[in-house]
Every structure is written in C-alpha cells, then in structure tokens.
C-alpha cells in the first residue's frame, strides 16, 4: 500500500498600493504590502474561488482532477494560508493562484491582490516553520524601515541598507522531505 502523496503550499496575499488608494504616509511599505485581509473570506469561499479559477484555466479536466484540495490554515490578520493538494496537480493549482488577481467572493468585487506562493513542501511541518520564519522576518524588516524613516526625519544621514528582509528567498523552495518516508510506511 502506497500512501497518497501531497503537497502543501504556503501562500501570502500581497496588497500593492494602487493609484485609487494612495498609501498612508509614514506607514512602512512592508506593512502596507502585507496588510490584513478585510474582505470576509472563509476557507470555503477561498476554496470555491480557487476551484473556479482552475476551471477557467483548465476546464472540466482541471476541475475533475483537483480533488483532495483543502485549506489547512487561514489567517486573515497576516493574509497567509496553507493549502493542501495532490502532488500531481500542484503546478496546476500554483498557476491558477498566479492568475488570480482578486480576493474571491460571490459577486467578484473583492479587493485586488496578488497571491504569492512562498513555499512548497511535502510535509506540513516545514511549511509551518517557514510561515513563522517569514512573519518574524517581516516584523524585523518593518521595524528597520520605521527606524530608518525616523532617523532620516531627524536629519541623521541614512544608511544605504538593503531594505529587504534579510532571510527572504526569492524562489520558493520545493521540499521533498516526505519522499524518503514513503517506502517505510508499507
């Protein structure tokens, strides 16, 4: 008996400031980008939105193959969620997330956003660790930016520090740590 292989995707929802809503002055850009999700979004509505997008892109085939989809974790305060899918359909789900540009809701008037996949893993533990690490890096980056903004106001020469979160990787890493276990569980 071989167990069904899964993939867990850690996804961030990003809100770039658009011209209709100019950013608040003094707000660090990292906070602006990772702002909480204010639309009413439940795991169910998110799943429906993703399934709809997959159906638009991949048709009946995609909708049929996408079984076992499950939201494992959804945090509106940090705009982060973890989604589980089968391994074969992982890239299909990921490309559908790339094509989404709004928070899914019934009438399609959700806030405009970007769904960014930051980690793909075979076990949920690694994804959770990554989520914690990311939010820690975000806090550090936001604090650094805020303190730099203050020092520039008070006339101290700014350091040309790299404003990015130091530990942020630009390519999501694909982790196959479950592969070795598969043979063992008979």
């Amino acid at each position: 008996m071989v167990r069904i292989k899964e993939r867990y995707l850690l996804v961030n929802i990003l809100y770039p400031s658009d011209s209709a809503q100019p950013p608040k002055p003094g707000l660090p850009s990292h906070i602006q980008l990772h702002q909480p999700t204010t639309d009413t979004m439940t795991p169910g509505s998110l799943l429906r939105g993703i399934k709809k997008e997959v159906e638009i892109l991949y048709g009946d085939y995609g909708a049929g193959m996408l079984n076992g989809l499950q939201i494992k974790y959804l945090s509106l305060a940090t705009s982060t969620f973890i989604i589980k899918c089968s391994r074969a359909m992982c890239s299909m789900l990921w490309s559908a997330l790339t094509f989404m540009s709004r928070i899914p809701n019934k009438d399609g008037t959700g806030k405009q956003c970007i769904f960014r996949v930051v980690r793909v893993s075979g076990t949920i533990r690694k994804v959770e660790e990554e989520a914690i690490r990311q939010s820690r890096a975000l806090i550090v980056a936001a604090k650094q930016e805020a303190s730099e903004a203050q020092s520039s106001i008070s006339g101290i020469t700014r350091q040309t520090a790299d404003m990015q979160a130091p530990a942020q990787s630009h390519f999501a890493t694909v982790d196959d740590s479950d592969e070795s276990m598969d043979d063992a569980d008979g």
């Binding site: 011209s19 850009s29 890239s91 490309s95 700014r158 404003m163």
Partner: protein, 286 residues
C-alpha cells in the same frame, strides 16, 4: 540577480503608480528593472529622451533602473531604423516586428538585443526554427511577457499559450527572456510564480530561472559594452588592487615554471622577481 526588463513607461504614467510598481518589484526580489518606452512608428533621426521627467525616488527601496526603447515596425524594405541616435538615449533597444518580413529581418540582420512580441494576438507568420535559432545564435533574445496573459481575455490567453509554446519549441527553450510588461503593480508576479507558470507551458524550471537571471543579464552587459567598450567589443575595466594576503610569492614561484616556455623572457623575469620577493618575505621580521 533577477531582472525584469519591461516596465512600460510613458509621460502619462502617474508617479504614484510607477513608485508602487517599483517598490513591489524590489520587494519581490528583482534587482534591476528597465522602464520601457514604446515607439509605435519608427522614430525619425532626431529623438528626445522620454525619461526627462522621471521622478526621483529618494529614500525608497527601488531596484536599479535602466531605460529601454521598443520600436514597433512592420515594413522591412522601406524603413530604416536609425539606431545610432537611440543608442545615446536608451540602455537597451528592442523591436516588436508585426509582419513576416519584419520578423525575419529582426531575426537575421537587425542590430538589437531583444525581440519582443505581443503574444496575445494572432500573428500572420509562424515561428520557424531556422530564423529563430539564427537570432538566438546571434545573441538576440526573445521576450515572453507574462502580464500580457494575466490581463487578457479567454481568447487572448489561448493565443498567448499557443504562441509561447511555439516560440519555446522553435528556440528549444534557448534564449528566452522573461519579463512582466506590467502596467500596474497588480500585474507583477514573484519570480517563483513566473517560473512555475512557464514550466506549465513547457519551459523547464532551469531555463525559466535563466530567463529571469542570466539571460537578461547578458542582454544588459552586452548593451552596455556596445556603448562604453572600445568598438563595442573590448571593455576596459579597472584592475583590482592586490590585497596583502592575495600575493603569495612562494606559491607563485612554484607555479611559474610550469607555464614557462622556452625563450620566454618575460616569464623568466617574472620568475626572478618572484624569487627576489620570496627572499624579501623571508627576511622580513614577523
């Protein structure tokens, strides 16, 4: 180093929109972007820089900015593009051929570094292997701009996928450069997302990463070489100072005889010099 060499810019682009696009590009991990000015007709001999009123972004985390021109042209026979004037103003020159002759001219003879196509439209020609590979071997790169697909309707998306897969097949995935052509910040995507998207469409993830990293880098470096280097070929760079721990005369003296040729006076001199230095380093008090 990640590059996004296509952010459309015109005089009507608002400062807030441009600033939010650039800060997002920086946060997503792009180190260098190129602001793209589009000429819908072949420009005349005299052109002014469209980037004169570019706002300054002091204190904001934005990537390095390059200036790029994209020239739309369809008639290969009558029009002659005066590249010499454009080279002075822009860092990168790209063309967008819209007809068969124009496409083959761009592939075979035009001295540009990027061929950019609107992949959401039906082209009156199809991408044959021979001119495409010729272009790639000549150092011209094909651009696939993913935001075209993101904002297209169903028909446009289908055409985009069809054109992109044809292009990947014709070039065998070599010389494909990925860019965004994002008209707003919402159309930008993270590098990993782009690579996954292209891997669904048949460009392997290794090639996809190259398309965001080393391929656009080669474009930028080659174009810079054309402008600063001697006759566009030889570039003069500063020789780095040798640090105190880098010079190891003993090791250098040992390696020297291997490379020495008969009757090579210079090598002999260097050897002597090294020996001298060796002696000196021994004598020097520790």
């Amino acid at each position: 180093m990640l590059y996004d060499l296509n952010i459309p810019y015109s005089a009507s682009t608002s400062e807030a929109a441009l600033s939010s696009t650039l800060t997002l590009a920086s946060t997503l991990g792009y180190h260098t972007v190129a602001l793209n000015h589009i000429y819908t007709t072949v420009p005349s001999t005299k052109v002014d820089s469209p980037f004169a009123q570019l706002p300054s972004f002091d204190g904001k985390a934005i990537p390095n900015i390059l200036h790029r021109a994209t020239i739309h042209f369809s008639d290969a026979a009558t029009q002659h593009i005066h590249l010499a004037n454009l080279i002075k103003i822009f860092d990168i020159i790209a063309v967008r051929p819209t007809s068969d002759e124009a496409f083959s001219k761009a592939c075979l003879s035009l001295d540009v570094s990027i061929i950019s196509l609107d992949l959401t439209q039906h082209h009156p020609f199809y991408f044959r292997i021979k001119p495409c590979m010729m272009a790639v071997n000549r150092g011209v790169r094909f651009e696939i701009a993913y935001a075209q697909a993101l904002q297209a309707d169903a028909r446009g998306r289908a055409l985009f996928i069809s054109n992109a897969t044809q292009l990947i097949r014709a070039t065998r995935g070599r010389g494909i450069m990925l860019a965004s052509e994002a008209r707003s910040a919402l159309m930008l995507r993270a590098p990993a997302d782009v690579v996954n998207l292209l891997s669904v469409w048949g460009l392997g993830s290794e090639k996809g990463m190259e398309g965001l990293g080393s391929v656009p880098r080669s474009v930028v470096v080659n174009e810079a070489m054309k402008r600063t280097g001697f006759r566009g070929v030889v570039d003069i760079v500063q020789v780095a100072d040798k640090g105190p721990d880098e010079v190891q005369p003993a090791a250098a003296a040992k390696q020297e005889p291997k490379q020495k040729r008969k009757g090579d006076k210079e090598a002999g001199n260097a050897d002597k010099k090294n020996k001298k230095m060796k002696v000196v380093s021994r004598e020097a008090p520790k």
